[in-house]
Symmetry: D2
Subunit: 342 residues, 4 copies
Amino acid sequence: MKIGILTSGGDCPGLNAVIRGAVIKGDRLFEDEFIGYRDGWRGVIEGDWMTLPRRRVRGIGRIGGTILGTSRANPFHDGADGAEIVRRHMDEQEVDAIIAIGGDGTLFTANRLSEAGIPVVGVPKTVDNDLDATDYTFGFHTAVEIATESLDRLRMTGDSHHRCMVAEVMGRSVGWIALHSGMAAGAHVICLPEFPLSIEEICGYVKAAHDRGRAPLVVVAEGFVPSDAPEGFMDYDLDEFGRPRFGGVAAALAPLIEERLGIESRATVLGHIQRGGEPTGYDRVLATRLGTAAVDLVHGGGFGRMVALRGTDIVDVPLTEAIDSLKTVPASRWHEAEVLFG
Amino acid sequence: MKIGILTSGGDCPGLNAVIRGAVIKGDRLFEDEFIGYRDGWRGVIEGDWMTLPRRRVRGIGRIGGTILGTSRANPFHDGADGAEIVRRHMDEQEVDAIIAIGGDGTLFTANRLSEAGIPVVGVPKTVDNDLDATDYTFGFHTAVEIATESLDRLRMTGDSHHRCMVAEVMGRSVGWIALHSGMAAGAHVICLPEFPLSIEEICGYVKAAHDRGRAPLVVVAEGFVPSDAPEGFMDYDLDEFGRPRFGGVAAALAPLIEERLGIESRATVLGHIQRGGEPTGYDRVLATRLGTAAVDLVHGGGFGRMVALRGTDIVDVPLTEAIDSLKTVPASRWHEAEVLFG
Amino acid sequence: MKIGILTSGGDCPGLNAVIRGAVIKGDRLFEDEFIGYRDGWRGVIEGDWMTLPRRRVRGIGRIGGTILGTSRANPFHDGADGAEIVRRHMDEQEVDAIIAIGGDGTLFTANRLSEAGIPVVGVPKTVDNDLDATDYTFGFHTAVEIATESLDRLRMTGDSHHRCMVAEVMGRSVGWIALHSGMAAGAHVICLPEFPLSIEEICGYVKAAHDRGRAPLVVVAEGFVPSDAPEGFMDYDLDEFGRPRFGGVAAALAPLIEERLGIESRATVLGHIQRGGEPTGYDRVLATRLGTAAVDLVHGGGFGRMVALRGTDIVDVPLTEAIDSLKTVPASRWHEAEVLFG
Amino acid sequence: MKIGILTSGGDCPGLNAVIRGAVIKGDRLFEDEFIGYRDGWRGVIEGDWMTLPRRRVRGIGRIGGTILGTSRANPFHDGADGAEIVRRHMDEQEVDAIIAIGGDGTLFTANRLSEAGIPVVGVPKTVDNDLDATDYTFGFHTAVEIATESLDRLRMTGDSHHRCMVAEVMGRSVGWIALHSGMAAGAHVICLPEFPLSIEEICGYVKAAHDRGRAPLVVVAEGFVPSDAPEGFMDYDLDEFGRPRFGGVAAALAPLIEERLGIESRATVLGHIQRGGEPTGYDRVLATRLGTAAVDLVHGGGFGRMVALRGTDIVDVPLTEAIDSLKTVPASRWHEAEVLFG
């Protein structure tokens, strides 16, 4: 078969390992031919692609980002007949199936295409770990490791200066990275979008830690807003996604804590370094398994479905499951973490 | 309650995070008092313990090894009445329950004690990931990351010299570390105890990789023996566990490969560095969750049981489940990896 | 002798290795007794100190920050007679000499005390590498490694999105960290306080890199101001040192680049993670050597002097040399780097 | 000018950064054209080379190993007229000058060629830091960081088991890596080829550390032989360089320590991972500076010379200086370290 691959949406450590896994398996087992679209759906729409012979994927499994490039282009943009656009391209290039690697937006598009009869399978990708149909997504653990390492560093300098360190990690809508990195680093309070603490409560935990002689560490997901946020609390310039471009919630919280408690406080925004790393071993293994499984899914005719991790197994599920709802941090995980605060 | 904690068997990144999680949760939620036994069961047998107030566990979550020390001591050693020894100690010190953190040997002991009426719960620990009743154990992912990083380095020097690099990783009886780190590093062949390839087959994969212009990377678990191993192949000095103290299978394989294929080959034994690292974020989170869950298990009266990971949940299972059989790499995982060889 | 040690000013990876080196050498060779002041000069002024027996320093060489704590307190603050304060304390506690570990402010104070007859020696400390009398200071290389690693990560995500990444690193007055980390990461332009490029020039380099198909990487020291900065360019809230608390120059530059060139641009401020790490091997060796040499300097009666690195040797120089002037990046180093821009 | 570049001898982190620095500077400033020889002198002898346009070196600065490959080939091998061979190649391909990057063997060859009138300049390379004419060589600090990190890990597992860990690092003839990594990791004794301790003395330090409650860490350079080594102490299979292929001195020492002191001891050989890493920021900066300086040296007609680091400056020196003698660890550095033993 001739299979097209694309990576779409925000980049994520492990994308290259998916591509490599798919190409090697397809080449070895099925004598598939692969092409890669440049910058996600843009490459399909504009017919911008490269061949992906085995030698193009050599050694890329450990490299972060994506050799194909990515974008937020979408064949249905502006009311276009996306299915027609994609079908025409596939006919012209004699492409038999598409493997779309992306987050909820990409999988939503893939599902629309599938419903219109386009043979497409999905591979879930989200640094934020917010996709419902899979236990974990590659990239998430890499982001957690990078964040944890940074939090460890912040603790060391905080300890020397007896300061409260407020660290903002990724997570617009869900707090998975904050939960895991905060728990790993022994944070004294973790602020998730799902469970809005008040500034009062946050200060309570900070004070408790300070009273025990610790330099308090506050980990806050970028999408967190305190339940008692004063007027104008988040009044910053916003970026294309409506999130504060700089200093967001951490920069807003730190001076408040300092003012209320008299504890010197500093904010740090980890930002883009969280998504830019080499994938960890964990994420490379997961991504490789998903990539090879996606090829099996194509050959098994499982169009409209995506590969996913359940326990220790790679399974496949309908695309509709993935895009149904956001996977938020459940209350049980929150309570598990909360008991360690302060 | 007054709870005793011990770490037993080989050390493992994450032990301190378990201890910390248990102590903080017990202290916070139940006003438990904790003591820690020095060097595993030895501390119970000899009454060698320290108090574990909250401040003793501060900051230890990210530190490798175990602040309690460990050993392979066993209260049933040499036919001793282990249950009686442990019970006497618990009575004297008014200890209500014991949390035993360890591998199959430790959990076997814990189960015997439990059957004799001692209130003990288990926390599974194995760098090798060979315990059947839990999806993963803490320490395993840290070992995989360290091994992967080392394999990445070996590839770079191998590439420069066009050499075949043979790397030996931990895994006496099971090949989990070899499987994951080998897959992560893009090894050209992975040798597991569970699926004994012949030297012939290994050389076939090495040659295929070399013919494609790659510097072949062979990852071999320490317990692997080729199916066609010549007489005396593993004739080395053995250590206390019956495994070759040095150079083991990697040192045996490398010259054979060089001789048969004429490709310069070098062996490396990663050894103890694999178990000595700071735990990764993943392992710290898992270990912390297991530690807090163990305290819940004690308070719920779940003696004779151990905490475990299933999917994304922490559950508890009978100790007997853990010690029933070794968790080996299943054929499905082997085939998934094998298709990428050569 | 009885020797007091203090760490003062901003914290810095390697402080603990200095302390450890001094204590072990003094203990071994001279049977010295050590005390450590809490939070720099504050501990001297307020008589807040701890004993530093050998066992207090075990294992601290690899830990970031300082076990003694630090502050910006100063015995001469507010016109106080600092020498009298310090002398009185030393008499009371029978302290024979003080080892002051710190940056230009600390060394300036040490020099004033020395001129007033107090037996004090200095150990230079600055993450920024801006002290003139030593080739390098410990902490600098650790900060460069952390920054380099972060820049590598930014490049990966930048490449995937074809974005211009603008990264702000430490360096209020000097550009050493920007120069080294930028050169190490292959930045397309590096902005130093010492050599103020115009926004025009920066955009020229960004465009050149972009035209060659690269995702441009701009590394900017926090103290850099473009030579043609428009009115209000740096109009941010300022922190205690007069530097922008958030988003500083990187956050100002990124949108300007995007606007002028139409290349999507993102800013990242590395911030406090740069000074919080475990010291690298390089910094641990340098710090240990300086610590042991400081004890020799005390016993040799070299008061009013500090230890320093010259080439591969540890030497000692008058404190006055260290505080004479800031060590800025020389033109030769700038030209060496500049040729690689664009 | 048309300039040929080669990397020769053992690989070393930073080689690619030298190549990149040279190519970009030559391209930018002088419009030089570059070719790269495959596998060192072999490429010159056999006319096996690739063009090195600017785009071939993009992004390679941070990658370990060498994109050109390396070998121990030598144009003067077996009495061949090396100068004639090289001259003929240069005439045919119109190569104006050669930049030879390598250790003492390579620089010796370069010097012979230079004496025969071939326009060649050198760039010193040695992981072992044993070249006399330069303060440090790139690759050395990377190896020290990797070794230090591994030693940190060994300490953690050693501490948990109260074991003596014996770690063997690179250094056939000189002990620089052992000295720096051992000092960084706080080793209790460091064994250098230059200062042969007796087994008696080593055991003395191990016992002293053990008596203080520490898990002793012994760092030993591969070329170390105890002054009182018993008959057959180093009787192992030797590799091509006459060094023990496995288990070398560490594997010999560990059981001796265990036998004499009754302290459980384990040996680890770090081996090839020390030279395979991504270069640290330090080494990338040094390598880049040497690469750009080598191009200046070519254009300045400095043939028969090599670039070198002196203090913080890049200078150039006669090749003869580099090959005169090995740079061993001086007594002053040994005494500095020794005081911390035990």
